[in-house]
Amino acid sequence: MTKQSDTSTMNASFPHQEFSELLPFYVNGTLGDAERAALDEHLRGCLTCRAELAGEQRLMQAFRSSDAEQQVADDGFERVMARVRGSAAQPPSAWRRWGRRSVQHAVRRVAMVAMLAGVMFGIAHMQGRVGLVEQSFHTLSQDRGSVVGADVLYVAFDAQASMAAIKDALATVKGDVVSGPNRDNVFTVRVPASEVATAVDTLKARSGVKFAAPAAPGAAP
């Protein structure tokens, strides 16, 4: 729909389009006094701008009520720190294997932590989100069984455990950090598939390890 042509700007020394360009800032309340007063004056005589103003208010309302939150992995800070320290400087590292291949992977990382915490995913609450995201959650709900391989463990360390102690403990089981630690100091660790049970026992026996268990559903602690 094209707009009716503007016939009401003759009394303005400022062209209509320039006023129209100010409307978003009028609506968001950031115009300075002089611009605001000039626009008020223009609005009195310009039907088009008045109509656009109403649309602007609806648009701002839509932006401010839109739920654009995203579900991102909880290990974000640790991932940045890993890069800061240069410890993730060997791409393609484990981060990459899990990190960026698809939406499903991003969602699965969240799901892993959720499963760990015993949180039921409110898939019903996800309805109404952007199609892509919704789709991923349906996928997730259908194949939880394949979310993590049998060679992946969750390992929680005492909060006081040093990075060196953690690395040392993981080295004894040939563990690769897949992600973590999350806020609870839980790492997701991949170990050689044939040594999962031994790895769990070895880790559990170490001081500083709060728990160690296979991550795969059904094998949870």
């Binding site: 401010r64 974000g76 991003a106 949180v119 999350n182 609870d184």
Partner: protein, 209 residues
Amino acid sequence: MASSAGHNILKFRAPPAQPVDASARDDDGDWQLIERIGRGDAPAFEVFYKRYRRYLERFVYQVTRRQELVDDVINEVMLAVWQQAARTERLALASTWLLGIANFKSLQAMRKLGITRGSDGSMDEGSGDDSLAQRELEQDNLLNVALRHLSPEQRAAMELVYFHGLHYQDIAKVMDCPENTVKTRIFHARKRLREVWPQLSGEQAGTSE
């Protein structure tokens, strides 16, 4: 402990950050944190990260409209915060500084994917297949659909003006472009949105559902 991990997960249902008037926003120690980050203070960095993660999630998603990019772009943004903290001049609100980095990294990620336009091929002044838009409108949130028809730059500008409530001078800083470019970019984005979302033309109240 397990319950607090659960709490993290559930936080994504929390209401979005309240939009704030930039001029009224208290910096709340942000620049002190940034100074400490500049000296290599990791705990300060973690506080800053946690303070701004959700804020960035929304912005990055609104610009890229690609969930699968959000994690990685935030990672890039925060790495840049760490690297730039020591040589950043305190010229604006910390949040504005951060949005500038986030805008740059979001657009960079989109360019790497070869995406510089809206889904219908529209650029700053594009016009597209409106019947397609009409069909989509029946199935999805109006704003989400409409935003797909804008370029990433246009979406960034719209988010900055309507959600973040920034003045055009601040948007120009965030987007690193002249003020007039900000105004015309938003003008064309509004024009485009009115084409795909006619209720915005203001001729009638439209359905508010």
